[in-house]
């Protein structure tokens, strides 16, 4: 079994899927000859030909719109939006079309496709290369939304997404592409090669959609996280010495509510963590669900630690990023509550 970076794992997922199924096609901006600005599709055109992996015009609406047409024909497109920040031109096609085609045609037409996009900050990308728009997808019925936190999950979830009969939004925390990142930006960068979740089988396997996983067992408080924030949560637990249970949601919709409820009923406390802006973020949904389902077990209000309600600034990136210091403070606060 090889150690892979997240990029390699994602590439391997597409490679395996394209090898098994001729109907899988991959395209997007700079995705063909060059292999993508993050190199996630590197080598696929050479291996599978220009009809299976090709460059698209800079038109996110066109990329998703044509992919919907292809999916309705019977292909399984897996397209890349270069940065999640640039998905908005495609948003109409995603929300009004991909998400609703099965429903409005009563199953006459369907839309099995995956839309991959890098999300999140941590690379000094400023307001247009740092966004985490997951809440804009979780609000849309008909979509599934996934955020992997490590190479093993990334590959298994992406293969599962490509094989899923419905449209799946696959969000890739770009700060994790080349190594795990716990938010301690002042410490040396670490590589995936040292991480056990970088052990990735070469061949086919899936990680099921809709299943969360516990990354750290704990009894004091539950931290709900996904993507980069899983690593931040683990670091904060370490830093503070607070015995937090860290749940990696992996799939936001459909959500593994059972796992969440079981953990919070055990710990009695819950912090929701995400990089996206606070207001109407997915953390609002999580906090609402937790208090609804665990109200009588809660010893303190569910807290949210998130990005601020502002665009993502360039120079003040680390003041914006909800890192282990901010989460650590929240952990101490929630343990003192009541």
């Amino acid at each position: 079994m090889a150690r892979m970076t997240m990029i390699e794992a994602i590439r391997s997922a597409m490679d395996v899927s394209m090898g098994r199924d001729d109907d899988v096609v991959v395209f997007g901006e700079d995705v063909g000859f060059f292999g993508g600005v993050f190199r996630c599709t590197h080598g696929l055109q050479q291996k599978y030909g220009v009809s299976r992996c090709f460059d698209a015009p800079i038109s996110e609406a066109g990329i998703v719109g044509t992919a919907i047409g292809m999916a309705s024909y019977g292909l399984k497109p897996c397209v890349e939006i270069q940065f999640a920040d640039y998905m908005y031109p495609a948003y109409d096609q995603i929300v009004s079309e991909a998400a609703r085609l099965r429903y409005r045609s009563a199953g006459d037409f369907t839309c099995p496709m995956v839309i991959r996009m890098p999300t999140g900050g941590g690379i000094f990308g400023g307001q247009t290369h740092s966004q985490s728009p997951e809440a804009l997808f979780t609000h849309v019925s008909g979509l599934k939304t996934i955020v992997p936190s490590n190479p093993y999950d990334a590959k298994g979830l992406l293969i599962a997404a490509i094989e899923d009969p419905d449209p799946v939004i696959f969000l890739e925390p770009k700060r994790l592409y080349n190594g795990p990142f716990d938010g301690h930006h002042d410490r040396p960068v670490t590589a995936w090669s040292k991480h056990e979740l970088a052990e990735v089988p070469e061949g086919h396997y899936t990680v099921p959609l809709g299943k969360a996983v516990t990354r750290r067992e704990g009894s004091a408080v539950t931290i709900l996280a996904y993507g980069t924030m899983v690593h931040v949560a683990l670091a904060a637990a370490e830093d503070t010495g607070i015995d937090a249970e860290v749940i990696d949601l992996r799939t936001l919709v459909p959500l593994d509510l059972e796992a969440i409820v079981a953990s919070v009923q055990k710990t009695g406390r819950c912090i929701v963590l995400h990089e996206a802006t606070l207001t109407s973020g997915f953390g609002g949904e999580l906090a609402a669900l937790v208090q609804e389902h665990c109200f009588y077990h809660l010893e303190a209000p569910v807290m949210r630690v998130t990005g601020w309600d502002t665009p993502y600034p360039h120079a003040q990136e680390w003041d914006y990023f909800p890192g282990p210091a901010r989460l650590g403070q929240a952990l101490r606060d929630i343990m003192e509550a009541r």
């Binding site: 066109g62 024909y73 019977g74 096609q93 099965r102 409005r104 037409f109 459909p254």
Partner: protein, 419 residues
Amino acid sequence: MSSDKSGQAPAATQPLQFHVPKPASRPGEKPDFSHVVIPKAGSVARPPVDVDPKDIRDLAYSIIRVLDREGEAVGPWVPDLSQEDLIRGLRHMMTLRTFDGRMQMAQRQGKTSFYMQHTGEEAVSCAFRIALQPGDMNFPTYRQAGLLIANDYPLVDMMNQIYSNERDPMKGRQLPVMYSSKEHGFFSISGNLATQYVQAVGWAMASAIKNDTRIAAAWIGDGSTAESDFHAALVFASTYKAPVVLNVVNNQWAISTFQGIARGGSGTFAARGLGFGIPALRVDGNDYLAVYAVAQWAVERARRNLGPTLVEYVTYRAGAHSTSDDPSAYRPKHESDDWPLGDPLIRLKQHLIAVGAWSEERHKQAEAEILATVIAAQKEAESFGTLHSGGKPSARDIFEDVYAELPPHLRRQRQQIGV
């Protein structure tokens, strides 16, 4: 600002003026179609399908016509259609018009919430459908039910959809007229304008990727060409030479807005194709023979892997936009009578009479037959319920088909509603 090169382009002393295009006439004024330049039937050349797009740019500014004023079919575009074919075409159009009449009335009677007619535009979708092969796929708007009727889709299923009754193939979820039939090459209609235009291009790309032989047809209205997805469709069709026919139905109006607002300074909608190197043709949309001939030309281009063709159908929306609309508020009441390209049914009927294949009598008889057929279908459909009475789709159907499998949160919600 010392670097501005002054002296060369002296600051204009004239203030700028804002320009908002206006239609030739408004309510109370005399209808005026003098701006619609109509070439003689038969006068436009018919190039070979593998022509270099550069050499036929003029076709984007003319109108291909076959039926002349006397009802004769003339010129190079006369298609190879038998009298039988044409009679069938006439019956399709008559069926569509009769269907529209009945459903319009049904809506007024409260049997459904909404309806949209095709009056005056029947030739476009009815003739186009005949140029396709089984397996080809249309991506229609709400004003191409002729594609279904000319493909013998059951009228009663259309009505079931319109009535949202217990047999509604769309299970009550969709607004009336938002049909879907994969089997009949009719993609699920979206209420959102223009979105399906680029999907058609994607479907066609898929067909080429799979070395299939099937082609796609995209549909859009004049007003909706302003939408961004129209551009995306043209970009992708042009770049990947997708086997798709890009249809623009210019019926002069977009609800209350005349076509000049979407068209701007380009003269025609077909011209939009020129900037993409896509061959663009304009055709008399009220001339069944011309529509078929041009459709067939464009379909052949796609089938022979020569790439996309843009076709503008010049027609007129004789009725209201929908049952929610009253055109007398924004255009002269009898503007449609002055429409210079006439009525597509009457023109085909006259042609058939002129060539001795039809008569007023046979026409009356056909009218009666068709009315009976439509009424029978309507009775059958109403036996399965109408929007506010009789059989209904189930509340369970709200939760199905959001995903292939019902996820836990939708299961919980369905339980809440108790179904």
